[in-house]
């Protein structure tokens, strides 16, 4: 009731505003003198005063009402009253966000939605719908980097057999794609080398001049020096090993092929930096960080300005990798086993430690400190692993 009385009492300012505007309009219509327009303007400004001093209104309400009265002479006051009475169903406007009532359920649901939306990819793979999962896998295949391959390999072991099959198919697709591209690279390289050899022997090396190669390959090869074709093949293999697409059993053979290709590519001095970077990445991917360090150290003195930061970053990586201990992962151990003949069943010499003047790693099974990390000894690690099975 009190509220109703207040509202009745507050009608006066609105009427006053409208009357002021009406007076101004009357002057404009009835008195055609030069001063009429400014005086009508003064009356219009005066119409704002009753609203400006209306204490009952909050800041935002007052702003709204003043806007109405200013923009729409005479009728603005009426519209302002209507807006304020019916604007939000309660006759009040929220002038302060802090005073706003919480949108409880929607906000909580939204928060949960955002939390769910931020799930890591592996969770999304296992918890998403079939459509989402397949889209994720398709995206991973297109990305084709190490993280994508790792995620797909993780999904192979998922409890959901359908997810495992989808991941397996995706990995198969990536491997097939690598195999196809590698075969094309090999053909191009072989053709380029044949063409190069023919040219060196003074034979006609124009496309189609030979009898054995397909015209298409000859055409590509004729425009592509052997060094470039070799670099392309080597970089493809390096990438496949690096991201984990290459068959683990074939990694030593592929790495050998890539080394040979890098050797061919190195014949062109223009490729020196690319060869050094690629070769280092290859050796890191093939778990031979010491060889990578040697490559980098040999290349650094003559490396170009653009290549130096990459080589230095790779050197850092190789340094860290060269400290990896044999029992830290089966892949590292496999790497040492592969090189068993040359290293006589011992880890490769730690070039980095030699260069840094550090003492050799003790052969005992006690724990070792590598930087700030205390690495448990081999025996302890094995014990934990066996216990966990």
């Amino acid at each position: 009731m009190a509220d109703a009385i207040n509202r009745k009492q507050s009608v006066a300012p609105w009427i006053a505003a409208s009357i002021a505007d009406l007076v101004g309009l009357g002057l404009l219509i009835g008195v055609q003198e030069p001063w009429t327009l400014p005086v009508a303007g003064v009356f219009h400004a005066a119409a704002l005063l009753p609203i400006a001093f209306l204490r009952r209104l909050r800041g935002s309400e007052k702003s709204l009402a003043l806007s109405f009265v200013f923009a729409l002479p005479i009728f603005g006051a009426l519209l302002a009253v209507l807006a304020l009475e019916h604007g939000d169903g309660e006759g009040t406007l929220i002038s302060d966000l802090a005073l706003a009532p919480p949108l409880a359920t929607e906000a909580v649901a939204g928060d949960f939605g955002r939390l769910a939306a931020a799930l890591p990819s592996c969770e999304a793979l296992s918890a998403g719908t079939v459509e989402e999962r397949r889209a994720i896998i398709a995206t991973l295949v297109r990305r084709g980097d190490a993280e994508a391959v790792a995620l797909l390999r993780w999904a192979l072991g998922a409890s959901d057999p359908d997810l495992a099959v989808d991941a397996a198919l995706a990995l198969e697709e990536m491997t097939a794609s690598f195999d196809a591209r590698l075969a094309a690279c090999r053909e191009t390289l072989a053709a380029a080398r044949t063409t190069g050899a023919s040219a060196a022997a003074g034979e006609d090396a124009r496309p189609g001049a030979g009898t054995s190669d397909a015209a298409a390959i000859s055409e590509v090869a004729a425009s592509l020096p052997a060094s470039e074709a070799a670099l392309a093949a080597a970089e493809l293999i390096t990438h496949a090993i690096d991201v984990g697409v290459a068959d683990p059993a074939l990694v030593p053979a592929l790495a050998g092929e890539a080394r040979e290709d890098y050797g061919i590519a190195a014949a062109d001095p223009a490729h020196a930096d690319a060869v050094a970077i690629g070769r280092s990445q290859l050796e890191l991917g093939a778990m031979r960080p010491d060889t990578a360090l040697a490559c980098i150290d040999a290349a650094l003195p003559t490396a170009g300005v653009d290549a130096r930061p990459t080589l230095l970053a790779l050197r850092e990586e190789a340094l860290l990798a060269s400290h990896a201990l044999p029992w830290e992962g089966p892949s590292a151990l496999a790497s040492y086993q592969v090189r068993a003949h040359s290293h006589a069943r011992r880890p490769p010499p730690l070039t980095a430690r030699r260069r840094l003047g550090l003492p050799p790693i003790p052969a005992a099974s006690g724990s070792i400190r590598v930087g700030p990390v205390q690495v448990p000894g081999a025996a302890a690690t094995r014990k934990v692993r066996n216990g966990g099975r």
Binding site: A117, E132, A135, E147, A148, A168, A176
Partner: protein, 540 residues
């Protein structure tokens, strides 16, 4: 009945006009398999036809386009009275020159005028909308489709068809680029129209050996003729298409960073993928609803069918079966060592003969098999044979051969091509399957019939075939080892274990033989189908 495009329909010598021919007892509808492709489903169809010499069969082959199917790979049994072919697509058309394009534009203009003057809207269009957009699959939808009152030009150029396209754009694929959507719309519905226009093959009952396009046609003919329909699914059609769609490079999801929060990239699933997937599910629903019996091979598949809309009461599990030799087949290995002599170092006197029996195609994942053999060969001596046709995917076959060569295993792993079963299994000690997808592989049953253990991936019905389906079945014991897909180390470990433990191999082989004798005999399968056929043929 609308005229049929001569290129889209062809009968194959045995009967020229399906509508005036004497109705066959059974019309078998197959999609992309028998008799033009050798393999599991085709073998099964051939076996079923041969197993019912008292019944006459008409076979309808649904193919992609004329000429793609090649020559028949099977000699048709004498009780096949007709072989018809229907194609979803036409052969590629030659591009038009300027004058041709002008003439075509004029034709389209005339056609549009004729379509606009059509007195009643197309019932087929309404049926397609109800089937694909509204998810309906009842008799009304079939009746609408069976009216066959929509021609291909009307689908491609008519305003009502464009309206359906916009409805699909709004309700099924709201985020799809409209131009892409148009081409997909055309690719989805044009084959349907070609199938609707195919003359009905008269038969006393219809048997679709899949859902999909063959299932749609079977449902349609069943509706038109009032004769009953049975659907047998070896794999689950809609799921298999989903797997293909997931790898289809002609549907692009928007590229998003995987490391980004999921909200920024997960919703970018291509709506076109969803469009196709829902279409294939709609095809399955149509066949499920019209079918009187839905036959599946395993419990796992039954569950998937129910999820896809198959009424549970119609579903029946009829496992595949193989013919046993006269009398129980002894296990391949000689007398097993006595238990007290058994140990992991009790090596057999000769190399274990391992066989991969199947088509050399990616879905069989021969690459994993080769990798597994390579790993196992580091520990045991194996004589590995890849037995099956390699012509279907020459590129893949070459890749597998190259992998063997690069691994330096050419002397141990040999590709011997297809062989008759009697020559395959009599010369093996172990059969390995590394498939990505299977229904209920006949290879496993054939191996069991010869007393051989099996290593197989956990797909389709493989697990229940190896470990047992019911309690009684499980009591027989495992007849092999189940591994995960694409897990060469697991497969290799199982191979090494069986190579070293002859007694275990012998036990598993004996269990397999016992299992196939009890649950997977060809005569049982044929008897079940005979009863089903009789019921359908005699149905009013």
């Amino acid at each position: 009945m609308a005229a049929v495009d001569g290129a889209a329909y062809a009968s194959f010598g045995l009967s020229d006009d399906p509508e005036i021919a004497e109705p066959a007892d059974v019309c078998l509808l197959v999609e992309g398999t028998y008799p033009f492709v050798a393999g599991g489903v085709s073998s099964w169809v051939h076996d079923v036809i041969q197993g019912h010499p008292e019944l006459s069969f008409a076979v309808l082959y649904v193919g992609s386009y004329p000429g793609a199917q090649g020559e028949p790979r099977y000699q048709l049994p004498s009780n096949v009275v007709a072989l018809h072919r229907v194609f979803c697509q036409e052969s590629a058309l030659a591009p038009l020159d300027g004058a041709g394009r002008s003439a075509l534009r004029e034709q389209i203009r005339t056609l549009r005028a004729a379509i606009d003057a059509r007195p009643e809207p197309s019932r087929v269009l309404a049926g397609l909308q109800r089937m694909h957009v509204d998810g309906e699959a009842g008799t009304d939808v079939l009746a609408a489709l069976a009216s066959n009152d929509l021609t291909l030009p009307e689908l491609l150029h008519g305003r009502p068809s464009f309206q359906l396209l916009t409805t699909i754009a709004e309700r099924v694929a709201p985020d799809a680029p409209f131009l892409d959507l148009f081409w997909h719309y055309r690719a989805i519905f044009a084959p349907v129209l070609r199938l609707l226009a195919a003359p009905t093959v008269q038969a006393r009952c219809y048997h679709a050996v899949a859902t999909g396009y063959a299932g749609l046609l079977a449902a349609l003919w069943s509706h038109r003729t009032g004769r009953p329909l049975m659907v047998t699914e070896h794999g689950i059609y809609a799921r298999e298409r989903d797997m293909e769609l997931a790898r289809a490079d002609w549907i692009r999801d928007e590229v998003g960073g995987v490391s980004e929060p999921r909200s920024t990239w997960a919703p970018r699933i291509s709506p076109l993928r969803r469009l196709w997937s829902s279409f294939f599910r709609a095809l399955s629903r149509i066949a499920y609803v019209q079918a009187r019996h839905i036959i599946t091979l395993s419990d796992a598949n039954r569950v998937k069918q129910i999820v896809d809309g198959a009424p549970p009461a119609k579903i029946e599990i009829v496992p595949n079966g193989v013919a046993l030799q006269s009398g129980p087949q002894p296990p391949r290995d000689p007398e097993p060592p006595a238990p007290d002599q058994r140990s992991v170092i009790a090596l057999p006197s000769r190399r274990m003969r391992v066989g991969f029996v199947g088509r050399v195609v990616p879905i069989k994942d021969l690459v994993t098999f080769v990798r597994a053999c390579d790993i196992a060969l580091n520990s045991v001596d194996l004589d590995v044979r890849v037995i099956g046709p390699a012509e279907e995917d020459p590129g893949y076959a070459a890749r597998c051969r190259q992998l063997v060569a690069r691994l330096g295993r050419s002397s141990s792993i040999q590709f011997v091509g297809p062989m008759p079963p009697a020559r395959i299994y009599g010369d093996l000690d172990l059969v390995v399957l590394t498939s990505f997808s299977e229904g209920q592989p006949l290879v496993i049953l054939e191996a069991y019939a010869w007393g051989l253990p099996v290593i197989a991936t956990d797909v389709g019905a493989c697990r229940e075939m190896i470990e047992g389906r019911s309690d009684d079945d499980r009591r027989i014991g495992p007849s092999g080892v189940v591994t995960r897909v694409a897990a060469p180390k697991e497969t290799a470990a199982a191979m090494v274990r069986l190579a070293r433990d002859v007694r275990l191999r012998w036990q598993m082989g004996a269990a397999g033989h016992q299992r196939v004798t009890a649950y997977y005999q060809r005569k049982d399968m044929l008897a079940r189908y005979r009863a089903l056929y009789e019921g359908l043929i005699e149905a009013p």
